[in-house]
Symmetry: C2
Subunit: 409 residues, 2 copies
Amino acid sequence: MASEKPIVVVTCTAPVNIAVVKYWGKRDEELILPINSSLSVTLHQDQLKTTTTAAISRDFTEDRIWLNGREEDMGHPRLQACLREIRRLARKRRSDGHEDPLPLSLSYKVHVASENNFPTAAGLASSAAGYACLAYTLARVYGVDSDLSEVARRGSGSACRSLYGGFVEWQMGERPDGKDSVACQVAPESHWPELRVLILVVSAERKPMGSTAGMQTSVETSALLKLTGWPSALQFRAEALVPPRMAEMTRCIRERNFQAFGQLTMKDSNQFHATCLDTFPPISYLSDTSRRIIQLVHRFNAHHGQTKVAYTFDAGPNAVVFTLDDTVAEFVAAVRHSFPPESNGDKFLKGLPVEPVLLSDELKAVLGMDPVPGSIRYIIATQVGPGPQVLDDPGAHLLGPDGLPKPAA
Amino acid sequence: MASEKPIVVVTCTAPVNIAVVKYWGKRDEELILPINSSLSVTLHQDQLKTTTTAAISRDFTEDRIWLNGREEDMGHPRLQACLREIRRLARKRRSDGHEDPLPLSLSYKVHVASENNFPTAAGLASSAAGYACLAYTLARVYGVDSDLSEVARRGSGSACRSLYGGFVEWQMGERPDGKDSVACQVAPESHWPELRVLILVVSAERKPMGSTAGMQTSVETSALLKLTGWPSALQFRAEALVPPRMAEMTRCIRERNFQAFGQLTMKDSNQFHATCLDTFPPISYLSDTSRRIIQLVHRFNAHHGQTKVAYTFDAGPNAVVFTLDDTVAEFVAAVRHSFPPESNGDKFLKGLPVEPVLLSDELKAVLGMDPVPGSIRYIIATQVGPGPQVLDDPGAHLLGPDGLPKPAA
């Protein structure tokens, strides 16, 4: 048995994922078990990632966490659930007789620091990347190599989908204990190299309701309707619509059929937002700008006579647009035409480089919208990417040898 | 048999109606047969009405129509369907041996002039009042006294609900020929005297799609889904949700239970818009202002701990708000607080008089919205009203003795 080290530090990164078959509604709030399966695309960490450092040491007197440089309360029930779960898995591994590569006492306290390379205000699912990264990093530091779906899921349901690269399915499972509610890869990131993702960040509008509270309202409304003997749209979606959609989406991805993939992605996004609107009180995440983006996409596709771009929206007004590499430049030009940048023309496009192109007069005529300057703040161009990574460079650690956050560079 | 008169002129008025269980989707485009029953409240003609004059004379050489002072094409298929239907009913009446009070030849041509006392731009269902008034006026001029549901329905489905005052049900019927798809009164206008209606006219935003085209998209999407073997939200709504809602809404009205009436009205409006969003391409009639109104209503009700106001939206961003007479003044003050009039402070409120009142600080805190000046243009305060009326005053005729529109006064 190796000798104990005074401190063990591990740093990992994890990606953001965007659902193309949406998760909405929990059947178990505590275990975070969904009422339907979902499917997502993992985005590339070159553009969007969470970095997390975890350290354990006998010298630490309590579990502590810093998010984006600010210390937060480690007592948060979801953080506690992740920690408890990872320590349980580590104990189980030891009791199963596996040799521990980092044999530190499980009673040692942990320090965690986590940062996103994108503003939380971008309204991207930062909690998914965050909890996936937490689960992955804690697993490395505690020497756990079993499936981490449950650890990540207990933090944020969709976090389990950020544990893999490429195209990822979160199977809802059937067991009451959630052991079969796990994420698995449908296809790796190399499977569809032409696929591109554009995140259209809409100018600051207040988010009317967080997704946890929103989802709860939906399920409660549904329960209310159940009590009165009426079927609910949420149940209808979960039971009748999602199962065939999951199969169809998997087939679209396997066959790299963009038209079918795009149409189904848009339909599922629309239906998710329809379900939100059908809860009581209703929830609206789409803003007027979101609706103009929807119109732009449909007109762009109508002009081409085929589905060349597809939108999806989560619990906020920002659009995530899928397209293929040969269409990115023209679509970005169309966005610039309909939503001219107000002042940051040079910083309007972030991420992967996109060639500037001129729009044809025909396409301009089809788009035919009064330009709305400034209503899209910027675009992030990215692509499908890999799952969580371990960073070997000690310079990447967010915690210093004393176990406290390094001063910002 | 009475002698023929050279010209017969009749002028009638008809009301606007607002559905509280929405009509959306036709099972027969030609006969305008709906896929679900619907229920509406008839608004008072003191505030909103269509006036129509019809004249028949042996001297007229063709059927002609003037809408709001402008001659329109009488060849429009829906106008033709109404005319054909009323002449068929008149012939049937004669062949049944009834004496004709106005025994003019059915082959005589008709002139029609029609006007609304409210701007079409208000986005109110002017076609419902318009076709109900046309059906009612033509029936008087041709001496038809049978049920006019079919005549009005052929013009615009919801027009059949404007044939009665008070609370009106349009029974979808089952017959393929539509003979049982008729409107009937659930309760007269005198039934619930405390009920008030506020129309919040939202500042000009382009209407993305007319309701006829929109409805067709919905049904087509539905059909597409049917082909792939997937159930559609539209069918789900029509088959599973609307039948119990119709019964529940009728009970709420009979019992004058405002809380239940209001909640069900809001839920059905939300679900109608959810169904629109779930069509492909999606249809969004609600604007950011509509959504702020929804939020205002829910916060106002939360403050009072009960449903004191209820919104409903048709195929546009304007809100129709139901409340009781004791709540009108406070709610109007809340609207003024959240949507301060931009320049027309004195013309902001039209229709029934409303006492100005001060909002409590508690309510202001609950509303807590950043005021958005100018996004509501004006409010029309009205109440439940009677069905179509015949105007006996010859001065009310919109057509002169020559059968042509009178010059504007």
